[in-house]
């Protein structure tokens, strides 16, 4: 069955430190891959996406993600975290254009001073 796994439920990092959030998926072909961020009490905002081409994609707010086909992974990274990055992050996967998304359970990021 198709699935999306975010292994880390909670992550705590110090402000200024680097960040990596993990996402693994189980799909037959290369799916459409997304990262969304949700601040408390807010809706979901798209950070970045990957469909094909260059496997390192840049997004908003200084985030980037790398698609690794051999590992079925699409990990999100940021070189230096800011306090405003504290939020919940969701990895999502779709089979094709227009298909509904299958979400991971999310990773909650806490940023300490």
């Amino acid at each position: 069955a198709q699935s999306v796994t975010q292994p880390d439920i909670h992550i705590t990092v110090s402000e200024g430190a680097s960040l990596e959030l993990r996402c693994n998926y189980s799909y037959g072909a290369t799916p459409y891959l997304f990262w969304y961020v949700q601040s408390p009490g807010q809706g979901l905002q798209l950070l970045l996406k990957y469909f094909s081409g260059d496997t390192l994609v840049q997004g908003i707010k200084g985030f980037e993600a790398e698609f690794k086909r051999s590992q079925s992974s699409f990990n999100l990274r940021k070189p230096s975290v800011h306090w405003s990055d504290a939020a919940e992050y969701f990895c999502a996967v779709g089979e094709d254009s227009g298909y509904a998304l299958n979400f991971g359970k999310g990773t909650s990021l806490l940023v300490t001073p």
Partner: protein, 112 residues
């Protein structure tokens, strides 16, 4: 921001009552979706629509129905609300020019 609104934004209701949530878009996109968000579960698909009067079930459709009589509106109905349907409900649209889903602000529903 994509032109998606949801109404109501908050609702408290009692077990057994019918509830309808509305999603309205100004983008004229064909594809629309309803998800629910619960702690520890991420977002799960309830129903989706590929056009007017063209809807289908998602992963957690039991207890929910939908209707889409106009491109811009996608309604989610709980025929008889239960406490297990207490959740935050998000509507989304898919923009075919970017192959990306955009989400509404959500509706927080509490069933007592």
């Amino acid at each position: 921001d994509a032109g998606i609104t949801q109404s109501p934004r908050h609702k408290v209701t009692e077990t057994g009552t019918p509830v309808t949530l509305r999603c309205h878009q100004t983008e004229n996109h064909r594809y629309m979706y309803w998800y629910r968000q619960d702690p520890g579960h991420g977002l799960r698909l309830i129903h989706y629509s590929y056009g007017v009067k063209d809807t289908d079930k998602g992963e957690v459709s039991d207890g929910y129905s939908v209707s889409r009589s106009k491109t811009e509106d996608f309604l989610l109905t709980l025929e008889s609300a239960t406490s297990s349907q207490t959740s935050v409900y998000f509507c989304a649209i898919s923009d075919p020019s970017t192959d990306t889903q955009y989400f509404g602000p959500g509706t927080r529903l509490t069933v007592l």
